[in-house]
Symmetry: C2
């Protein structure tokens, strides 16, 4: 599979997962971890509502799942795909997990920590920096979030 | 109990937990969450070795435990005590959890994200900043870590 076809496949899957999470009342964000062949090893959605935990972001959950599944504490041969630019907590976790590549969809100027705010991977105290590709499937990922928050505002208006 | 006596009690407990974790082969860091009365709600040590997870820092674990125990997703009425300055992942989690105060022991110029590196709580994209008191029981917390890493170096030399 070419890289473009792989990106399409994984990000379409991530958008579908995020959409389902949004329908269940979660902020619609999903994350997937693949191996070097592009096989999906673990996938998770934001589950802050379901789990009642403010730290249950999709990235934290999928990293923990992948470590349990592979039995490996450092995921150097794995890539993470996220529908939204990770926050500081999740970017820190991606660094600790030593993930090879970070692909993300929508940019998050308000809470993102990769291209915004602390730009965490540019900090000297961050000991591992993945290759980073942002803006993949950006429109679909961003529209999903925009629609979710608009509906939330409309329903509480 | 005066605040000083409370600090003594909690930090002594945290140092004891961290010491035990170090004896079990973990990097000796411990975290405790207390309520406004100073009662301990949850306590955890760094468990990266035991759990095989690079993200199993004491702070992440104790925050998740406290949320499960209290059933509350935002811990605005709780304080966190850590033997070491939190990293970016854990500082991000402390912000998401809305913890009221962060007390920590040793400073961590290499990996800390509170007073070092991204100085996360000063970033505009971090939406909650706890009150911060660093350097409590600093010497005991730092000596513990120094001793652990020295023994590790000596045993692999």
């Amino acid at each position: 599979m070419t890289h473009d076809h792989l990106s399409d496949k994984i990000m379409r899957r991530a958008v579908a997962l995020a959409t389902a999470a949004g329908a269940a009342g979660e902020v619609p964000v999903a994350a997937i971890i693949t191996d070097t062949e592009g096989q999906i090893i673990a996938e998770a959605v934001n589950a802050m509502e379901e789990m009642g935990q403010a730290t249950a972001h999709a990235e934290m959950r999928v990293i923990q799942m992948a470590m349990v599944k592979t039995g490996i504490a450092r995921l150097s041969d794995y890539d993470i795909w996220v529908t939204l630019e990770p926050c500081a907590m999740c970017a820190g976790a991606i660094s600790h997990a030593r993930l090879r590549r970070l692909y993300f969809g929508a940019y998050d100027p308000k809470g993102g920590a990769v291209e915004h705010g602390p730009c965490l991977f540019s900090q000297k105290t961050i000991h591992h920096q993945p290759e980073i590709l942002g803006g993949i499937y950006e429109r679909a990922c961003a529209e999903l979030l925009g629609k979710f928050f608009k509906e939330k505002r409309d329903s509480s208006a």
